[in-house]
Amino acid sequence: MHLMYFTEQPMSAYDEQAGRDFGATALMFPNKHFDPVAGSRLYNNYIEQYMLAEEVGIDGIMLNEHHNAPFCMQAKANIFAAILAGMTKKTKIVMLGNPLPLAENPIRLAEELAMIDMISKGRLVSGFVRGGGQEQLATGVNPAFNRERFEEAHDLVVQAWTRPGPFRYEGTHYQHRVVNPWAVPLQKPYPRVWIPGVISKETIVWAAQQRYPYIALNTSIEQTKKIWELYDQVALQSGYVGGPENRGYLIQVHISDNEDKARENARQFRWMQGEFTGLAHPVWSTPSGYGSPTNRRAFVEFAAGRAINPRGNTSFEQQVEDLRIIYGTPKTVVAKLKRILEQTRPGILALWGNDGRVSQEDSLTCVRLMGQEVFPAIREIAKSLDLKSPFEANAPVHLKYSTDLKPAKAAAAE
């Protein structure tokens, strides 16, 4: 089991009322509401949380990035990854991940990641994402080619890491005269790639075809099971059997030394009015061409205010009931997490520990209890359930490095 700490790095000092008055807290919400003095303090708070995470033995620190919104202060995940590469010694730096389509030059990205891998002495996990709709608009990238750019940029990054240069790359969206980066990763064949996601079936299928672990982001137990069903089906078609080493899960969990405080702080997981990414116009979060055409009809009805969000928007109480938000003392939290582990069998688990306006003191308490009490108990449960991480299972970095592939039929028979 690989166990991680995650925070969105919330810009908690923004004026919430201003967001409500404006009617949105993303993309077009004016950046005059960003306070760089608070930003400076908060960035350093997050570094303190990460350093404590390493000190209390947490296996990995999960990083991500978003743009133009208070829910996440990281505008470039590689910056924090570079900081952690230099400041920490043991913890894995797990990027979930770099939004590939936003890269105008994937070779620069490959170079940055290679540097992070070398500086950290091989502790990089280089996850990739498509980036949300708003990220495309915030960076001026065409949403209609999002998936094409994702797959092509991935191909180029992996080639830049593994294929001896110089070579020329003539793609549909990327053309490069000379690919010959001198910074290449320390880890061979290349750093592990994990793919986080929420709803897109296409991404689950793609991840399974690559044999990259898929990290389900705060989905319900039922949704998570459906994701593994699809992943495993594609795995069999690709010649291998999916297992815990292919499965990751991120869940909102706040841990405290008393239940009441835990509950109060857990409410902060809803600080963006129930939306992960803050209030936004639907056409910002799902620009035309970004989503799957099969969802088009349901989406336009929602965007025009005639139907409820097809992604759903449930109350705090319901999310607690569904085990999508967990809070409590280490003892109660472990019992709930155990149910999730038994039912969905992941080999990678990330706890999204703190959000919104949770104080630094309470955040640090959460991280400490996570590392010192919750994770040791989870490790024991994982052992009894035989939930191995990709590291423990020594899983291949990509399908093409597999040594156990079987024809689809034989794999299915196992």
């Binding site: 061409g289 009809r297 336009v300």
Partner: protein
């Protein structure tokens, strides 16, 4: 007066186009907005009373299928040059509405001798010297469609006060195609104003006085770039002059085309 329209699928350079035709007289190619087009519009009927009107649905919009290879508005202009050649239509008048105006202008630059007249109505395609073209990408479907009208009752007449889900879905499909071919720079070409200098055919530029989609400064830039052009302002009218004041626009066009 009912107009007898004939619809067909015509292949131009490997691209299948849904094309509607009606009327007799001088051939007039009418190019619709980036929001696609309804099958029937009073403006099309009014024009067909005096001219041989050809209304293609742009590739990737409304009833024409999407060619995945397309990357620019100029690609559509080339396909339409192919369409006119397929139909054996020479020296057509080109009437471009909004986004269709950009396509018409590109077509004019490709074959300056092969058009009789150019009519640009609230045309995109040129960077407005003042103001910006309204951004589809950050505007909701209804807000965007309504922004094209000065009088919201005119919108209700055309689309209904609550457009159907089919219509919303079609707007999304059209949007996706606009992103594929006009994402950056958004809805204009940096070279078009220079290329327009080779135009010889007379041009009429029409703008609604309350155009909230394309600033009128773009119309003035067209006026400067085209050697033989004049500007008409339609009062109490938004961007979609064709849908808001169809009779007035048809009259302007017919007077202009018949001027020779």
């Amino acid at each position: 007066m009912a107009v007898d329209w004939a619809s067909s699928t015509i292949e131009a350079g490997g691209t299948k186009l849904h094309v509607k035709r009606a009327g007799r007289g001088r051939p007039v190619l009418v190019l619709h907005h980036e929001t696609g087009t309804l099958d029937d519009l009073p403006f099309y009927d009014a024009l067909a009373a005096n001219h041989a009107v050809i209304v293609p649905h742009h590739p990737g919009y409304s009833r024409s299928e999407r060619p995945d290879w397309m990357r620019s508005v100029r690609d559509i202009a080339v396909v339409y040059r192919g369409l006119l050649s397929e139909l054996k239509v020479a020296r057509a008048a080109l009437v471009g509405l909004g986004f269709g105006g950009w396509i018409a202008a590109e077509m004019a630059t490709m074959a300056p001798a092969d058009l009789s007249h150019l009519v640009l109505v609230g045309a995109m395609g040129i960077k407005p010297p003042q103001g910006d073209i309204l951004d589809l990408a950050v505007t909701g479907y209804m807000d965007y469609a309504r922004a094209a009208f000065h009088d919201q009752k005119a919108f209700d007449r055309v689309y209904g006060a609550e457009p159907s889900v089919d219509q919303l879905e079609m707007w999304d499909i059209c949007r996706e195609m606009s992103f594929r071919i006009a994402w950056k720079p958004y809805m204009y070409s940096q070279t078009l104003p220079h290329l327009l200098k080779s135009m010889r055919a007379p041009a009429l530029i029409v703008w609604g006085d309350d155009d909230k989609v394309v600033p009128i400064s773009a119309g003035k830039r067209y006026l400067e770039s085209l050697p033989d052009a004049h500007l008409e302002i339609v009062r109490s009218c938004g961007h979609a002059v064709d849908m808001e004041q169809p009779e007035a626009l048809a009259k302007l066009v017919t007077n202009f085309i018949g001027r020779e």
